[in-house]
């Protein structure tokens, strides 16, 4: 899976903040830096696959990302 696909996979169930998304990469034994992850997240937001949600903040004050319908369709392709 590409980094974009891993992010969509991490968000397919629930909204997650960047720290939790990075943990998902770790769980899959994929190394990614925070800077790199930020760039991919920004691309995904720009492409409207995900958006920054306001439903909560985590203990670090980070807002979660939520997958869009377009993102879900994209995730179906990698399933």
């Amino acid at each position: 899976m590409t980094n974009k696909e891993i992010i969509l996979d991490a968000l397919i169930n629930d909204s997650e903040a960047i720290t939790q998304i990075k943990e998902y990469f770790h769980l899959l034994s994929v190394e990614i830096s925070l800077e790199e992850l930020n760039v991919v997240l920004e691309d995904l937001v720009e492409d409207e696959f995900i958006f920054i949600d306001e439903i909560w903040v985590n203990e670090l004050g980070e807002k979660p990302y939520t997958i869009t319908d377009k993102g879900k369709q994209e995730w179906e392709k990698i399933r």
């Binding site: 996979d9 169930n13 998902y24 769980l27 909560w56 903040v57």
Partner: protein, 220 residues
């Protein structure tokens, strides 16, 4: 002697010559009304609640005075009752703000009366001002303490060390379908602190008893 005969308690209505004057009744009524408006509109709940406490205290004190009790004694009695009731309410979940406001009203009302007298004013005026200021200060102090306790770090510590102080207010679970979580159960739980009303949420994904994912969330 003649004047004294007129104002001494033939009718038991003004035993000390300090029965509540019109401004005292008006002030207490205005406070309660303004307090209700502030609370109902959400403009200033803390100040509003404080005004309701101080206004009610003055109303009760005025009533006791009007019924023949020494007005100074009625004020001190009301201050004492405020402190006692306030301490009691501090131990009732969800009533801490009211309790703190009453404690503040009682303490500063009591002290305000003596301070006013020491400065050459009347006990009643100092008590009234002290009660109003004290009720607001008490409420604000409580709010400040709650804010301090409601930072994410403090709430997480409380949740981990004192779980009985948190009640579950909402929970939703679903099957986890992400590749790394497949076969697991995703659970969102929302909790509220019974003392401070602070809110904290947890999100967990577990599979066969193993916790794959766990984090807190706030601000919902």
């Amino acid at each position: 002697v003649v004047i004294s005969d007129y104002i001494t308690p033939v009718m038991l209505t003004d035993s000390t010559g300090y029965a509540p004057e019109w401004w005292s009744w008006a002030l207490s009524g205005v406070q309660v009304a303004l307090g209700i408006v502030l609370c109902a509109t959400g403009v200033g709940a803390i100040i509003g609640a404080g005004l309701i406490v101080s206004g009610s205290s003055m109303l009760i004190s005025n009533t006791m005075s009007a019924l023949g009790m020494d007005d100074r004694l009625s004020m001190q009695l009301q201050s004492g009752l405020n402190v006692i009731a306030g301490i009691g309410l501090s131990f009732v979940p969800g009533m801490g703000a009211l309790g703190a406001s009453m404690i503040g009203a009682g303490v500063l009302g009591f002290g305000g009366g003596y301070l006013s007298e020491a400065l050459g004013g009347s006990y009643g005026l100092g008590w009234s001002i002290g009660t109003i200021v004290g009720s607001i200060v008490g409420g604000m102090a409580y709010k400040a303490i709650v804010n301090k306790l409601s930072t994410p770090a403090n709430m997480m510590r409380s949740f981990e060390n004192h779980p009985s102080r948190w009640k579950l207010i909402d929970q939703a679970s679903s099957q986890a379908t992400g590749r790394a979580y497949r076969g697991g159960i995703s659970v969102y739980s929302k909790y509220q602190n019974i003392w401070t009303s602070g809110r904290l949420g947890t999100h967990s994904i577990t599979r066969l008893g193993e916790v794959l994912h766990y984090h807190y969330f706030f601000g919902f």
